[in-house]
């Protein structure tokens, strides 16, 4: 089952990025380093999207998560006085947290394997998936209302962030 093709090798490299970055986030003592590990992990996920033949999702992942969200997290750490001084991010509950999240991860993997077995693709990825996405966004047969509501959500976030950060 395990064959060495370019796809499987790149999958393992990207999975290594994702898991290694994720482990780095929870084990490093420095919050800024944790944010940088998060970038690595999110980048690995972008690579996995590419392997799943979802190039637009991969671009979004790099543009929004790797580019913007990680910058926001880093800046959030930098503007917070209390967080900058913390070098010790462990607390006494970490073994319990590790056990619970390990069990949760194992349960999810077991569920996926039980449900889908050999993990074969159920359908081919349509070549024009970005066109389909665009059509789904702006036509009423698709997701027109959620699309318009998203603009209101973005407006609320915009005004909220200005109000919070202007007069402090």
């Amino acid at each position: 089952m395990l064959t060495f093709s370019p796809v499987s090798v790149s999958f393992f490299i990207m999975a290594l990025f994702t898991i290694g970055g994720g482990l780095g986030v929870v084990t490093t003592r420095n919050l800024v380093h944790a944010a940088l590990f998060l970038v690595l992990s999110l980048f690995g996920i972008a690579g996995l999207y590419v392997l799943l033949e979802a190039p637009y999702l991969a671009v979004i992942q790099v543009l929004v998560y790797v580019g913007a969200i990680s910058i926001l997290i880093t800046i959030t750490v930098m503007v917070t006085r209390r967080l900058m001084g913390i070098e010790e991010t462990y607390n006494r509950q970490w073994p319990i947290a590790a056990i619970i999240s390990g069990l949760l991860g194992a349960g999810l993997i077991a569920l996926v394997v039980a449900q889908f077995g050999a993990l074969t693709p159920v359908a081919d990825v349509p070549v024009d998936n970005i066109e389909q996405l665009g059509r789904a966004f702006v036509t009423h047969q698709g997701f027109l209302l959620p699309f318009e509501v998203a603009s209101v959500l973005l407006l609320a976030a915009m005004i909220g962030s200005i109000v919070i950060s202007r007069d402090v």
Partner: protein, 119 residues
Amino acid sequence: MLIEQYLPIAILLAIAIVLSLIVVFISRIMGPFRPTAKKLSPYESGMTPMGPAVRRFPVKFYLVAVLFILFDVEVIFLLPYSILVQDLGVYGLITVSIFLTVLTIGFIYEWKKGALEWE
């Protein structure tokens, strides 16, 4: 969508990783390492460093980051439409215009509030 199309990106990624590892480690491996307190202190153009580099940043950085994300997300919503402009015609133009109008209100608010200025 063939996976081989991503080969240049993979090569670029490999070069970036290898090059950054070389840059970080070559001086440690090749050069002499005889540290003194002066050598290990941060370089501040010959001045004595004053205060720690780790300090709080102004909240303006946070505002810029949030606004950047919001416009980023807006672009992502609009990008799939941009390849269908001809196809969807006036109908698509109207729906996207409603989306953009709402966000333009936010943009005007942001502009008039001076959130784009860096005083």
